[in-house]
């Protein structure tokens, strides 16, 4: 994640803009969500559920620019009523099926009105999980036009809007306006405040009348109320999603961030270039990411797998969101296992999502199915332990979840719910999917091991192997050599360091295991944990640790020129 991304979370995840509408619209929201997922395909080739989300996120800044039917929520609502119903039925059916196996009586009424069902489950959920206070979901809106056909991120679209970071907490909106007015007419402006304390959160947004004002602003440094502030162009999320990102590996350690960016600018307009630096040393870690304003640029740069840069052959790979990679595997499974009742899964695979960055990880139907099963087991267990009937709760929770997460594709539920829209959606999706897959046929994972990753996916699409790989730091046995700072000089951090927290984990791991006789198991945790902690311990001190352990180090070893 680059800092810009985080800025955009600020922009589009801004609670104060969304909460106002949310409260009243709780119910509609849910239904909208359902509607969007179910009828998405019929409305536009771009409206996968994910597109909806992205579009929504962009909405707050684009409301006035894009003509959407968002003003008449109510009509949408009614039109989608039946579909929502369908949808709910489906879930209920699905859950009932599961639960019935355990002889649990389903209370989920297939004909229950969706709104009612929703409210009921809210209440019960609140009862059962005391900490769990449901927050209404965010406002759901449609924006079919948002999915544009243009391949290039249109940076000019919202170019009048700026993100202003680094503000003095004392800076007022008036002061901000005064300051920026010299660059042009400020038509909108807001400093984000902490909702509890009312205190400024140190950033805000500002919209100029003319894009040229933004150009002027970004040219120079700005100081306001004694603080260097950080104005940036606000690029709408949806535009971001049309960008293309690559991974660059094997970069020489002597390459500096600026050079890195300049070098990659030859293939297209760069939105963001990130050379990964070591947190502690500030040195290049030999890889980085470049985000272009268009997939074209990515195609261009990716024509070469290796490029000469400062005397080294650097490796270029597309960096794709994980679901893109999974998609290929899943698709093959779907094609092969026609018996799988998973038409929704195809929708999930709508290739239009490929361009989306803000996808929701929970969209993995397989994972969701497994999750459901786990949940069910959990409740069953609870039932055994407490003698209470949790089946209803479970069911409602599932239902709730599907409601609350618009864009969720519930596993299995596609049986019927998806089918009405499938007719129009699937072929379209299929086409897109193919073309997309073609263009990304050489898609590889970030961080290497692409082949095994893909192989895993293909071999067993239902397992999350690929994803599990991302849990990079789970203990998995011996680690590589310790970091070079420790390595090159003989001299250990003495017991002092050992007493420190850094080493605690390994004891913990071990204690956790309890069973010391299981040697391999113990090893596994002991070493993994230990090396990690050791390193962690070193890093702990941040800048200070070198000095500290330097003092503590008992340097008995031979060194020809230690002072």
């Amino acid at each position: 994640m680059n800092s810009d991304d985080e800025d955009f979370n600020d922009i589009y995840g801004d609670e104060s803009t969304s909460t106002t509408t949310v409260v009243e619209n709780k119910e509609e929201t849910n239904k909208d969500a359902i509607k969007t997922t179910t009828n998405g395909d019929s409305t536009s080739n771009a409206t996968s559920s994910l597109d909806q989300l992205a579009a929504l996120q962009a909405l707050s800044s684009n409301l006035n620019k894009v003509s959407t039917p968002n003003s008449n929520n109510s009509s949408n609502e009614t039109s989608s009523e039946s579909k929502s119903n369908n949808y709910n039925n489906n879930i209920n059916n699905n859950i009932n099926n599961n639960i019935d196996q355990q002889g649990v009586n389903s209370s989920g009424n297939p004909n229950e009105k969706p709104g009612q069902g929703t409210e009921m489950s809210w209440e019960q959920l609140q009862q059962t999980m005391s900490q769990f206070n449901p927050q209404p979901t965010q406002q759901q809106q449609q924006q079919q036009q948002a999915a544009l056909n243009s391949v290039k991120a249109d940076l000019s679209r919202d170019i009048c809007k700026m993100f202003i970071g680094g503000l003095n907490w004392e800076t007022t909106e008036d002061a901000l306006k005064d300051y920026f007015s010299k660059y042009g007419r400020v038509i909108d402006l807001k400093i984000m405040k902490d909702t509890n304390t009312g205190r400024s959160r140190g950033f805000g947004f500002l919209t100029f009348d003319e894009p040229s004002s933004v150009d002027e602003v970004v040219k120079s440094q700005h100081i306001l109320d004694g603080k260097v502030i950080d104005p940036k162009r606000a690029i709408p999320r949806e535009e971001q999603d049309k960008t293309g990102k690559i991974f660059v590996g094997g970069i020489g350690a002597d390459v500096r961030p600026k050079e890195f960016e300049e070098f990659f600018a030859q293939w297209g307009t760069i939105i963001d270039a990130q050379l990964m630096l070591d947190k502690d040393t500030g040195r290049s870690r030999g890889f980085g990411f470049v985000t272009y304003d268009s997939p074209d640029a990515v195609d261009k740069v990716c024509q070469n797998k290796f490029i000469d840069f400062k005397g080294k052959k650097i490796e270029i790979k597309r960096a794709e969101p994980r679901h893109m990679q999974k998609q290929q595997g899943n698709e093959s499974s779907i094609q092969s296992s026609s018996g799988m009742p998973n038409p929704m899964a195809q929708m999930y695979q709508n290739p239009m999502m490929g361009g989306m960055g803000g996808f929701n990880p929970m969209f993995n139907p397989q994972a969701m199915a497994e999750y459901y099963q786990k949940m069910q087991e959990y409740y069953q267990q609870m039932q055994q332990q407490t003698g209470m009937d949790y089946s209803q709760m479970f069911q409602q929770q599932m239902q709730q979840m599907s409601m609350m997460m618009p864009g969720y594709n519930m596993p299995g539920m596609g049986n019927t719910a998806g089918s009405p829209t499938n007719g129009s959606g699937t072929p379209n999706a299929g086409d897109e999917s193919n073309s997309n897959n073609n263009s990304t046929s050489n898609v590889q994972t970030i961080g290497g091991e692409p082949s095994s990753d893909q192989k895993n996916d293909e071999a067993d699409p239902s397992s999350d192997n690929g994803d599990n790989k991302l849990q990079i730091n789970l203990p998995r046995g011996p680690r590589g050599p310790s970091s070079s700072e420790k390595g090159s000089h003989y001299g250990r951090n003495d017991r002092g360091e050992r007493g420190e927290r850094g080493d605690r984990g390994d004891r913990g791991d071990r204690g956790d295991r309890g069973d010391r006789s299981d040697r391999s198991d113990r090893d596994y945790h002991y070493r993994g944990g230990h090396r990690n902690n050791y390193r962690g311990g070193n890093n702990n001190g941040g800048g200070g640790y070198r000095g500290r352990s330097g003092f503590n180090r008992r340097n008995n070893g031979y060194h020809p020129y230690n002072r």
């Binding site: 769990f132 994980r322 609350m404 913990g508 031979y558």
Partner: protein
């Protein structure tokens, strides 16, 4: 004032005691010392000492009673005792002593003796007077007066005076920027005089060099008084650099340039070429090594100064590197010394004085450089002194890190030419240079390493011990390269080094065992276990038989590292442990050699785990005895000053060994520490005493042991002492301002978390949580990262059972949550991070909507949960969180790990 006159009888008495205190007769000496001690309480004692220092050879009474030699010696003795008494805490500031006479007359000692010792001692007394008295009594007009006198004497060529001034500057320069009596800031005057003396052709070399030395102590202050004259000073220095060939002066010029380079590089940047060539000229030509070292130090500073950009340094590489390489050859005397001592010595016992004292664990602040210089001077051993060779190698090292490509390009052709030199010391220096460049430059000559490495391995068989020795080191410097990218070299390199462990030359053994330790440290556990484990064990076993004291210490270290790296098994039991136990039995409880051995045993016990059980009772009992004895002696010494307190290292290492046993044996260690269960918790009482120790390292180890006891043993054992332990933890948290005590603080906080996980802290939580949160949310203090990290973990651990404490108040805030995530998200321990998050998620869920969580914070939470957290143990809490914020979550742009988390979570 100076009207003070000594009482004759009393004077004579003191003088006789002084004479006797230097008597060759031991008894007479200690009697005199005792008597002087009682005199020390007299308010006029210092005046008497000073009188003897100044008038000791002129006073008629003294002359009539003592010989001329005794009179002379007495003056110096009186002066030193005067200095020591003044340094004793508070003797001057408390005002118990009359020092009128000292203040008025001490200056005469600088010139009224032909005896250089007397003038030097006087200089030291004056320096001490400034550093103890005048610093704090700047309003005393005599301070300024004495300063003027000193400057005047120096201007008139008095070398003792300028030497005294340079010592004063070293100790107290910053105080002269303040106002002294009569609102005078002495700095202006001082700078002017020093610069004048430096530039005055009439000044003697000593005056010049000492005046420059004075200024060198002023430069770092960036004092306005100096800055306005810096150009004058530089002009003079440049002139002297060209004209003055005196070694003292030149050495100080080098120091000047290095100091100005550090503080005002802008002033030198235009003259760098000239300065560097001046330095290179000195290094290459000067006979006095001290000057060459200072010149080389300039180059070192030049290469390490972060304000000087690479491209400024780069043009000089081609000139500097060859000089450095040339000076890395041992100097002629050393070569001769090494050549006559090349024969095998492995069977000779080490003399105690050959062994560098085991570095004490406790960080001692050095309380004066003057003393340590003497130590260095005494140390005549070939390789322990800082010298030109070391300085050159160190400079090559840092320069290679800065400009690896350039250095390698210059150095490699040069080195290749000399690698096979017939003269061993050239080969030796070449190998040293390769090792020095290894860290920074390996990438730039790694294409040559496949050929170089076999060559180096060959050098392990060189007939010259120094070549074998340096080769061990250099090969170990390539260990990262070998272990990362070229494991095919691991065995071919390590095997010969392991063979070298048994070298017949102790020096070579030392380097070999050090190199093996480096390899162990850098190596994957897996590699060690599959490839090296057995071989290392059997070699170590042989080493135990062959090695003498000095190398044994390093061997212990290597064994400790091996134990730390991989789990020791039965083979280790049979090969290594008997040696350790035998050694352990042969040493007495107060032998300092126990320290490294206890340390090593601690690692070994941890690593052997249950297998150590048969030895455990004996080992534990002895460690416990040592610990108890030390703690008791320490306690009794508070009442009885005659008790000699053993070094705290005994306490620390025995605590650590017990801790090692607890870690290794886990719950089984309970029967060792608490043989009678609840009935005997003596060890806890001792622990409490250790936790009261003012030495941070003792508390650090004690908290570590406490934590492990909490972790592995029955919580009820703590029942009685719990309030005391919690109090001590609280005290540690309150006294958090000593940066040297960070490790103790960290361990205390860590302990608290473990206690909270196991024992209900409801009764204490209010106060404890306040302390934790005060520290965690402090804005007035910069905490060490490890402190915040542990605070965060402990908050999480306490939150597991008492989340409500944190769901309101200072912790209920988005920014604090965000800080919390930031503090733990890099944690690499699964268990810690899991329990931290477990409590934290409970807290967050319980806080509800009292805090509106920002997207960033939510994102950090998810991303934190994504890595190194066992989410299965609190899946329902996470689920509740996810549900609660589902609307927010889906609009977040999450990291791949967080996405994987959600998927992983759902597949759990």
């Amino acid at each position: 004032m100076s009207s003070w006159q000594p009482n004759g009888e009393y004077l004579l008495h003191v003088a006789t005691l002084l004479k006797n205190s230097m008597s060759p007769n031991q008894e007479e000496r200690s009697q005199a010392m005792e008597a002087l001690k009682t005199f020390q309480l007299q308010s006029e004692f210092l005046n008497y000492l000073c009188y003897i220092l100044i008038e000791g050879e002129t006073n008629e009474l003294l002359k009539s009673h003592l010989s001329l030699l005794d009179l002379q010696n007495n003056r110096a003795t009186a002066g030193l005792l005067l200095k020591n008494t003044m340094l004793e805490e508070g003797s001057l500031t408390k005002g118990t002593h009359d020092i009128q006479y000292v203040k008025s007359n001490i200056i005469h000692g600088l010139y009224n003796s032909s005896n250089a010792l007397v003038s030097n001692v006087t200089g030291i007394v004056i320096t001490t007077l400034f550093s103890t008295y005048y610093r704090q009594h700047r309003e005393d007009p005599q301070g300024i007066e004495m300063l003027s006198q000193l400057l005047e004497l120096a201007s008139n060529g008095n070398e003792s005076s300028i030497k005294a001034l340079s010592k004063i500057m070293e100790d107290s320069a910053q105080f002269f920027q303040l106002k002294w009596s009569g609102d005078i800031k002495p700095m202006d005057m001082l700078v002017s005089v020093f610069i004048r003396l430096t530039g005055d052709p009439a000044s003697s070399p000593v005056i010049k060099s000492e005046a420059i030395k004075c200024l060198n102590n002023i430069v770092p202050l960036q004092s306005q008084s100096f800055i306005v004259k810096i150009d004058d000073f530089l002009n003079i220095i440049f002139n002297l650099a060209q004209s003055d060939e005196n070694d003292l002066v030149r050495a100080q010029i080098c120091v000047s340039f290095a100091t100005i380079l550090e503080f005002r590089p802008d002033k030198l940047i235009d003259h760098l070429s000239g300065i560097i060539h001046f330095m290179l000229h000195l290094i290459g030509s000067v006979l006095e090594e001290k000057v060459a070292i200072e010149a080389c130090e300039f180059l070192h500073a030049f290469a390490t100064n972060s304000q000087i950009p690479q491209h400024i340094v780069q043009p000089y590489v081609k000139d500097v590197v060859p000089v450095l390489l040339a000076k890395m050859v041992y100097n002629e005397e050393t070569i001769l010394a090494l050549e006559v001592s090349n024969e095998d010595d492995a069977f000779e016992e080490d003399k105690d004085e050959d062994i560098r004292p085991v570095a004490p664990r406790i960080v001692k602040k050095r309380d004066g450089d003057a003393d340590s210089e003497d130590e260095d001077a005494d140390d005549s051993e070939v390789d322990t002194q800082w010298n030109l060779r070391k300085c050159s190698a160190s400079t090559l090292d840092v320069l290679t890190n800065l400009l690896p490509g350039d250095v390698v390009n210059v150095a490699i052709p040069f080195l290749r030419e000399h690698l096979t030199s017939e003269r061993w010391y050239i080969r030796e220096a070449t190998v040293l240079a390769l090792g020095a460049m290894a860290e920074g430059g390996v990438k730039y000559f790694d294409d040559q390493l496949p050929a170089l490495v076999p060559f180096l391995v060959q050098q392990l068989k060189d007939s010259w011990a120094p070549v074998r020795k340096i080769t061990c080191w250099t090969l170990s410097r390539f260990s990262p390269w070998i272990l990362m990218d070229h494991t095919e070299f691991l065995i071919p390199v390590l095997e010969p080094i392991v063979n070298t462990l048994m070298d017949r030359k102790k020096d070579v053994q030392e380097a070999a065992i050090s190199a093996v330790a480096v390899f162990i440290e850098n190596c994957d556990s897996e590699l060690i276990e599959t490839l090296l484990y057995k071989e290392l064990l059997s070699s170590f076993s042989k080493c135990f038989e062959l090695y003498k004291k000095k190398n044994l210490i390093i061997l212990y270290d290597a064994v400790g590292r091996l134990a730390e790296k991989c789990e020791l098994d039965d083979m280790a039991m049979q090969t290594i442990l008997p040696h350790l136990i035998a050694k352990w039995s042969s040493l007495s409880d107060n032998d300092k050699e126990l320290w490294p051995l206890l340390e090593c045993l601690s690692y070994v016990a941890t690593s052997l785990g249950e297998r150590f059980m048969p030895m455990a009772p004996e080992v534990y009992n002895r460690a416990y005895m040592i610990l108890r004895q030390c703690v008791e002696l320490d306690e009794r010494s508070h009442q009885d000053p005659n008790i000699v307190v053993p070094e705290k290292d005994f306490v620390i290492t025995s605590l650590d060994l017990i801790d090692g046993l607890v870690q290794g044996l886990g719950p089984q260690s309970e029967q060792l520490l608490f043989p009678q269960g609840n009935k005997n918790t003596l060890i806890l009482n001792i622990l409490i005493k250790c936790l009261h120790d003012p030495v941070h390292e003792v508390r650090q180890s004690a908290f570590a042991l406490l934590g492990d006891i909490v972790y592995f043993h029955e919580p009820r054992l703590l029942a009685n002492s719990l309030p005391e332990f919690l109090k001590l933890i609280a005290i540690e948290m309150v006294h958090n301002d000593d940066s040297d005590g960070v490790s103790a603080l960290v361990n205390a906080i860590w302990c608290l978390g473990l206690i909270g996980e196991r024992i209900n802290l409801t009764d204490y939580i209010v106060d404890l949580s306040r302390l934790i949160l005060d520290l965690f949310t402090t804005t007035s203090q910069i905490l060490d990262k490890s402190v915040t990290e542990n605070l965060a973990i402990t908050i999480g651990r306490l939150g597991m059972t008492l989340p409500e404490v944190f769901s309101s108040g200072p912790f209920a805030s988005d920014s604090v949550w965000s800080k919390w995530c930031l503090s733990v998200n890099d944690l690499e321990s699964l268990e810690e991070k899991s329990s931290a998050y477990m409590g934290f998620i409970k807290i967050v869920n319980l806080t509800g909507y009292n805090v509106s969580i920002t997207d960033e914070t939510l994102k950090s939470i998810l991303e934190g949960l994504a890595v190194n957290v066992d989410v299965t143990i609190f899946a329902q809490d996470i689920y509740a969180l996810l549900m609660k914020y589902s609307d927010k979550i889906q609009i977040l742009r999450l990291s791949q790990e967080a996405i994987a988390l959600l998927q992983q979570f759902s597949s759990n």
